[in-house]
Point group: C2
Chain length 140, copies 2
DNA sequence: TCAGTTATGGAAATGATTACCATGTGCGTC
DNA sequence: GACGCACATGGTAATCATTTCCATAACTGA
């Protein structure tokens, strides 16, 4: 399974790092095109899929089912607290959950256990000044 | 917002209780039709949506994005450990997670916090006798 | 250069879910 | 019981993210 660091793949990874929070495939595609980087939507999906398989991105699903991506921080597996209003996302400490997952799996005799944990809420700022969720401008 | 307990709505709720584990809207629809209960797919979706809003079912999403439903046990909010192979699902104790979620949310200044937690793995039995995931027959 | 593999991207397909809308049903009223 | 209206149903068509197809392009090693 060779891996060619093509212009497109590098562009996707780069564009992903330029985004503050979680971003969808389609948003990324638009952003790239807007930057004058011609790339097919299919290729964006493929690149994200590959990044996911190789563990370079974290993926969450929003209520609609759309997948949102975010470059994974260097220190590995994380979970996030995401504002439903503005999209602001913050990595949180989840050691307790990690331990719990291990525990439960062991107790129940399950193997190859995976977990997804998603926390959503309304952030401090949005409680005061409700914002519309937009990929372009998320307050940092 | 009145609530008429129509033939169809009662049938959906009943069919849902007849299923061992999590079930999709379409599976439910097929099961109902197979039982000679004529009902529109649209109606099944509406009924499940209503049950969800009123907190009578738990919902999870599988990798494909398909929504799976399960009647919520009387004792309220639960999380499940689901076998990726056969679909066997088991409610697990998640007090640790509940507390963690509260904690994190409070610390970060978020309000109206919601969480989704999904545990998947391969169950004891499936490690020995791999089964194909099928809604119809899930070992209990 | 040549062949073989890998990557790209437009268009068409997929598949769950939702929107529309004309029709049907429950139910309180007269 | 008949009437009227709000609520419910269900077929079909639309939506929409994602995937599949497939012909073409780019890359790599010999
Ligand atoms: Zn916010
Ligand atoms: Zn984790
Ligand atoms: Zn199993
Ligand atoms: Zn919980």
């Amino acid at each position: 399974m060779p891996w060619r660091p093509t212009r497109q793949r590098k562009a996707v990874l780069s564009a992903l790092h330029d985004c503050a929070g979680f971003t969808s495939a389609q948003e990324l595609h638009e952003a790239l095109e807007a930057d004058g980087i011609p790339i097919g939507l299919t290729t964006v999906y493929r690149a994200l899929h590959a990044l996911d398989r190789s563990g370079q991105v974290d993926v969450v699903r929003e209520k609609s089912g759309e997948r949102l991506y975010r470059p994974r921080p260097a220190d590995g597996h994380r979970h996030y607290l995401v504002c439903r209003d503005c999209g602001l996302s913050t990595a949180v400490d989840a050691d307790a959950v990690e331990r719990w997952a291990e525990d439960v799996a062991g107790t129940m005799g399950f193997a190859e256990v995976e977990h997804t944990v998603e926390l959503t809420g309304v952030c401090d700022r949005c409680r005061v000044t409700p914002a519309v969720r937009s990929s372009a401008e998320q307050h940092s």
